[in-house]
């Protein structure tokens, strides 16, 4: 490990990222030579899958790689698979979308794979500067992807907003790293285990990191950008935003706060306040939305709030042991998984129903959908019920585990506030279901022909819906995996 030359095992540990980057580069390279647009869909599909396959190799070679910059463990394996799945599904959903909107294929997939690689780095980074590189890789690709519909005003606005606010947040993150380095003399997380948690400099540094990542996960009060960016970005990209970068940023946040001694009142209250603010900001905002993309954007803020409840549980473990912390980690991981599946499915439907130029995004366009397209309406209902947290869906178990983590750590008030938020959330999810099932369609939408769903889109919907139900019926395999004591490799 101390030898100056990286071993082959080190390369195995970053194999997913290498593959994703490699295929991204390949797509860019081949772009002038290959005319067939669907070639690139296939290429990106294979690339994303290859990265997932590579993550198995990385998992088989656990341990710190490249002098401790990255850490291959069950945790990074889980997130590699998660962001890989997200990438695969977004590729499948994006093909028909790009076709419909007449947008270039190759660049889109290249950027998508670069972003995925960045998320992979975030998930396995054990050193803050490496994490920063991952963050930049995923962010910069995301900025471009947000503005990918160049001739649409909203898309440009979305990209501009995301870029300006995002770079501001990244600056915070970088400052935070500097201050943490000043406090501990290292940027490697595993060497901060013995740091004094009460030091002001460390608190300040970690706070700035928290702000930077809080922006990425859309935690209030850093969530203002979310609805505009989600609304303006091409819908498959929105699906990516809500699932991938969010999961990766939460992964890094979890790794930092699971390693650095942070079980103090300060962090506990920081997460407590963040969680409550975020839940209320998301749910109250969503109540008044009339655009489905904005509604789902606010809902994703609310869900970030629920996940932050589990973080409050992690940091309140002053008297609890690792077993209790493990429950909270597992809650976060399971929640991110269930949430990613559901959001991908929902945004894919929105993207398909939106029609050319994404015109049909108003909630009224969903009135009477169950009569025009019963299967699509049923699918969307499954996703919405999972977001709502109704049993037999993965979302229910996600919420259940978070409740359990909160009650385990005696955070009864937080659990009650989360319960209240779940009820507020129920209202706007149900509103969509009510529209689809209980209202008559407007005259023009009733006259319009049903929107066709190409095969690749159907695959996305099938995978996400079956996954949602399957993890809602038997979460055993996932839970057993993420509850293992060596989640973080030590």
């Amino acid at each position: 490990m101390n030898s100056a030359i990286p071993t082959i095992a080190d390369f195995y540990r970053v194999l997913p990222e290498l593959l994703w980057c490699g295929f991204g580069l390949l797509a860019m390279f081949l772009q002038p030579f290959v005319r067939n647009r669907h070639f690139f869909t296939a290429l990106a599909f294979i690339g994303a899958l290859a990265g997932m396959a590579g993550s198995f190799l990385s998992f088989r070679n656990p341990g710190a790689g490249f002098y401790g910059l990255i850490q291959a463990d069950a945790f990074s394996f889980f997130f590699h698979l998660l962001v890989g799945t997200v990438a695969v599904l977004v590729v499948l959903a994006a093909g028909p979308y790009l076709d419909r909107e007449r947008l270039p294929f190759a660049e889109f997939y290249a950027l998508l794979l670069f972003a995925t690689a960045g998320m992979g780095v975030l998930a396995s980074a054990q050193e803050l500067l490496t994490a920063f590189i991952g963050l930049e890789m995923s962010s910069i690709s995301s900025y471009i992807l947000a503005g990918y519909r160049r001739d649409a005003l909203k898309s440009g606005e979305s990209a501009m907003k995301y870029f300006l606010l995002g770079s501001f947040a990244t600056a915070f993150f970088l400052y935070g790293i500097a201050l943490v380095y000043g406090a501990t003399g290292t940027t490697r997380l595993d060497m901060m285990v013995d740091a004094d948690p009460s030091g002001t400099l460390l608190k300040l540094g970690l706070s700035m990191i928290l702000i930077g990542l809080g922006f990425k996960v859309a935690a209030a009060p850093f969530q203002i950008w979310t609805p505009d960016v989600y609304e303006g970005a091409p819908t498959p990209v929105t699906a990516l935003f809500s699932a991938g970068p969010k999961a990766a940023a939460f992964a890094l946040l979890l790794r930092i706060f699971a390693t650095v001694p942070a079980a103090t009142h300060f962090w506990f209250w920081a997460f407590w306040i963040l969680a409550v603010l975020t839940m209320f900001a998301g749910n109250l905002g969503a109540l008044v939305q009339t655009n489905i993309k904005r509604l789902l954007a606010y809902s994703s803020i609310a869900h970030a709030g629920y996940i932050l409840v589990a973080f409050a549980a992690v940091t309140s473990m002053a008297k609890g042991g690792r077993a209790e912390a493990a429950v909270a980690y597992a809650a976060v991981l399971f929640y991110l998984l269930s949430y990613a599946l559901v959001k991908l499915g929902a945004f894919t439907i929105v993207s398909q129903l939106g029609g050319a130029g994404e015109k049909n995004l108003s909630l009224d366009d969903y009135a009477g959908l169950s009569q025009r397209q019963p299967i699509v309406a049923a699918m969307l209902s499954i996703y919405l019920l999972s977001l709502l947290g109704l049993p037999v869906t993965a979302g229910f178990f996600g919420k259940f585990y978070i409740f359990k983590a909160a009650v385990n750590s005696h955070l009864l008030w937080l659990a009650v506030l989360m319960a209240i938020n779940s009820i507020i959330g129920a209202y706007y999810y149900l509103r969509v279901i009510v529209l689809m099932y209980m209202r008559e369609p407007s005259a023009e939408s009733a006259a319009a022909a049903p929107v066709g769903f190409p095969l690749t889109v159907n695959v996305v919907l099938a995978v996400t819906a079956i996954g949602t139900i399957l993890f809602g019926l038997m979460p055993n395999p996932v839970i057993n995996f993420i509850l293992q004591p060596t989640l973080f490799g030590h």
Binding site: F400, H410, L412, L414, A419, A426, L430, Y437, M438, I479
Partner: protein
Amino acid sequence: MLHGGHLLSVLIFFPAAGALALMMLRGDDHKYIRYIVLIVSAAEFFFSLLMLRYVRVGDTGYRLEEFAHWINQPPINYHLGVDGISIFLVILTTFLTPISVLASWKSIEHRVKEFFVMLLMLEVGGVGVFLSLDLFLFFLFWEVMLIPMALLIGIWGHERRVYAAVKFILYTMAGSIFMLVGIIWLYNATNTFDLPTIQNMLATGLLALSPRTEMLLFLAFFVAFAIKVPLFPLHTWLPDAHVEAPTAGSVMLAGVLLKMGTYGMIRFCLPLFPGASHRAARWVALLAIIGIIYGALVAMVQPNLKKLVAYSSVSHLGFVVLGIFAFHNISMQGAVYQMLAHGVSTGALFLLVGMLYDRRHTFEISEYGGLATPMPKLAAFFLFVALSSLGLPMLNGFVGEYLILLGTYQRHWQWASWAALGVILSACYLLWSYQRVFFGEITKEKNRTLPDASAREKWILITMAVVTLWMGIGSVFITRRTAADSQAVIDQVEPQRPYEAAAPVRPGQQAARVAPGVASADSPERSGTR
């Protein structure tokens, strides 16, 4: 299945399989769909009767238990069982489902397939709730039931259906999410979701909750159940849901969903939190009595016939809650009996109101009058059912109310005296509305030519009437089987009380008996309030 091995699983999954098969069918052949659903639900009813063989008189405890590991972290098990209380509620559910199918035979014309799928899913949820012995499984079925019911109201209901559906679902969900927190909290204290195990821990003293924790947990469960019952002042969703629901929805709502609340109180609130139940009993009884009288008074002034029946439910369910929280074996049995009787007679009332609606498309009492002339048969059935609902001896309503009042009187004569007012008032509102609808001159020309009960309607009503009469005369068949298990519930609330030897206890004494527990209990670490 002959030895009952998986009978309970069959009961839960048979209608689910039926619903699944139905989904595969083409949706346009309505006749075919109706017959399939009728056969499935009738078969389900006969399956449920098979349980009677295994629930013998005098036995206590859960029978026909089924146990399988489901989720290992946290340990959630598929644990089913039936006892003398739940068995009849299951049979009530499976009985009302085919009746509802028949009632919707003609009145449901669009999206027929979806309607019956929802009805069968509703049955799955109801049977599952009554058979679950695992808190988590119970919660799962409890929640799963919401969606089909809300869709039944929201899609096939009347004018303000969407409002009623959303109100119904939000009310119930608000209650149940706190129950979920309560369930998890209880798990934290016990490390299990298994109801018999927790009861065992309580009996052997392994689990001792501080009074404050116990009270909070009790409330978390109780509020969810009270919303479902519904107990005054949480009842406001019920009239809307009933009025807007299609007939079958109203029947299932009154017959099954409301019973889930009172069943939950018997099954969970009392045995798991005996101390808190004692301390809360006085307030619960107060709300129940207010509900009895308030429900009856509001029913009396209703211009809307269906709303009248809905408010009569509030009043009748108040009796059930009162009987449960009197902690007396007789009143407990009365409560169980009243749950069944209310399911049958209020179900029948909703069926009759639905038949009137099918003819005139209005629930306004003022639109009717003198209906006994054009439809004598329907009028006769209506009178019969109204009499059973108001508690005429020999019919089913009498047995339940009488037992409740008898048992309650022995513990708290004041409660029983107030509640008895409800019996008088129910006679007033039912007979008065009957008079306004069926007697007098025909004021509206349209009413003169209304057809009397069709053959299908007659068979529905005859079935209901026979069951009503049988429950009134043969009540011993049911009470013998509920006796031992209701006593077991009472024993868990009050271990020191010998069988049937109930001396009246005044509130002061009761408080004195609870007091030592309060004094000895510790609450230094104020668990769970950050």
